[in-house]
Symmetry: none
Subunit: 215 residues, 4 copies
């Protein structure tokens, strides 16, 4: 059986079975019987260092999670094509009726780095990353042109701008805008410094980010 | 600051800071300095009960994770549109050079359920879930038409069929097919029973699923 | 006598006499007899919240301090005019032979704010602040044009850019450049978050700033 | 990180963090939120022995501080050039609306010593100190010619003359003269004996200095 899944995953699964499942077996059973009712949807990056369940110490059932490169929400486009993130939004908001949506960005994001390095060779002839990150093109150009900032500062600036852009796009979905107007859903921005684990939260008024903890 | 993020996330973050971060601070720092080098990419569902980091007891840096509704991989479509999942695949395979891709399905999947209930009202006028799950249309129709199976059996059958469909689509990406032919990447299917936590792995030859451990 | 100096200064002076001077009387006497030999020069802002002696808990004799609005070093201009900051640099480097020069910037800087608000009325017909902050004009324009950043982010970016600009100007002084080339003087950048007291130090290679303490 | 800032400053910062910041954390936060409102501006010397925050035991937010060599105020010159000290004056008076300006001189001043030693080699080819101290040329010549006074007496005399000269220059700024006429701002002279810590205050009528406290 070992060959059917990577060894490190099987080892991790055995650890889950031994250490965590016993305490949550009842919870899993109830969540299967009664269905999931997460209060919060999190849109996070695929990055291996930014699992929201780790950062927020989540139990099963706590958060409904989309993960795509650079935690982007594309604009509302009801064009009959399939849209992965929009489908998840529709399901979370209209079926599960989540009360919060959190865009969770992070430092050292490879997707944001790619957006700021437009001259790089595409990763494949399909240039899927290039197309995906082109959602940020105007912002990436504006930030990338500022040579007075260091590369890291440009990266950090675009990471925050991208979160605000995704929040704006969330509001372009009529069903989200309507629920927000009624006070039934709240949109949040957050950013995690993966070098220290420090979580920064966005001020909903100003769009500024500040650390949630004091040293 | 509490109002900037949902209370339950802040409570979880404080728990992470107090209990988990101290033991992983050095790891986070190294992963920030040296970059991520996950060996495995996992494509899982947004469902709040199926966090792969929980199921596989992952440390930061272990797995690169896409999460969309019903853990689907669409077919290769280099059409210049933006494709969230394809972008993540391209990045994981060609930039991070992962050695494994795991499609992780699960029981009680709401997306699969929607695919089997085609007459339901769309969740919004954009019908994003309807469009997204239409990727499974031929399979959903074939399974749905089989009235000899119970509703639960049809659901479970389509969950497995969908995993094999995504594995087939993975192989439609030329760069993945090439690496698999060279033995540099391995594709896996898995399914988790959320009512018990039991993990089922797919036999790569037959496509059958069987439980990885006895309880 | 109270009218000769503001009451709050006299109260503070009496506190100095009562609490601090007894422990440092001998030090003051020696420093008067033998002259000052500070190892470090600090160029800081006039801001009432950024006294370097407070931040670095300095004893008398520790640091030679210039304070001007926005802690700027103008470029080398040996034009026969009087230049306050250049005179202090010349004295510190060539007479006192300091081994370090630190440019100490800070958050919420009023001068930087003025540089980013060029349309504001001059504070007097002489427009001294406008002229002084015009040293940063190109940078202020580049940063100010980025409307995707919040006002606070633009401010923070320019605060850091200004520190790097002053470091560059320091190196335009031939006597500083020569001593740095010989390894006899080291130039540093730092920035303090006045809302938390957190000190950020500049990486001399990349120009990036990072916090000096972990929470 | 230690290499990024001089060791003695990092040690001092750690002492600040451990001993002083805890008691002033709330004050720093309020000063960041509400802005600075110092009642007093102090123009002091760069000398490492004359930090006004030490001498007046100041809390953050108490005083707005210019420090240049020999605590000089140049005359009002609205010539479109950049003037460090005039810019700070304009900002303190017209933006922060300070109620007091204190010129704080001191004994053993290296700049005053240089003004009295005109034949000395310039400290660099730019002769920035020579030019800066030339603001005092007529006074320095008059005092220097008086061979009946000892060198130390000449130095001490010029230190006081320079304070009165700076006060006169302060009044050459139209916006300061106007506010003083309205009773909205008060100008002060002070001098500190760095060998004993004794503070001398200037009588605003006569220009005489006398000690503020007996030892």
């Amino acid at each position: 059986m070992a060959k059917r899944l990577p060894d490190h995953l099987m080892a991790g699964y055995n650890s889950f079975i031994a250490k965590r499942l016993p305490g949550e077996r009842q919870l899993f059973r109830e969540l299967a019987d009664k269905g999931q009712h997460p209060k919060t949807m999190v849109i996070a990056c695929c990055d291996s260092r930014t699992a929201p369940e780790t950062l927020f110490d989540c139990a099963p059932g706590d958060i409904f999670v989309v993960r795509n490169v650079a935690n982007l929400v594309p604009p509302y486009e009801p064009d009959g094509e399939y849209h992965s993130t929009s489908a998840a939004l529709e399901f979370a908001v209209n079926s599960l009726k989540v009360e919060h949506i959190v865009i969770l960005g992070h430092g050292n994001c490879g997707g944001i780095h790619a957006a700021l390095s437009p001259s790089a060779e595409p990763l494949s002839s399909g240039d899927f990353i290039g197309r995906w990150m082109s959602l940020l093109d105007p912002a990436a150009k504006a930030v990338g042109a500022n040579e007075l900032m260091t590369g890291r500062e440009r990266q950090s600036a675009l990471e925050r701008i991208a979160i605000r852009y995704s929040l704006k796009n969330l509001r372009s979905f009529p069903f989200i805008a309507a629920l927000e107007a009624e006070g039934k859903i709240t949109l949040h921005g957050a950013w995690v410094d993966i070098s220290s684990g420090a979580l920064w939260a966005m001020d909903p008024e100003s769009g500024d980010f500040s650390m949630t903890t004091e040293e």
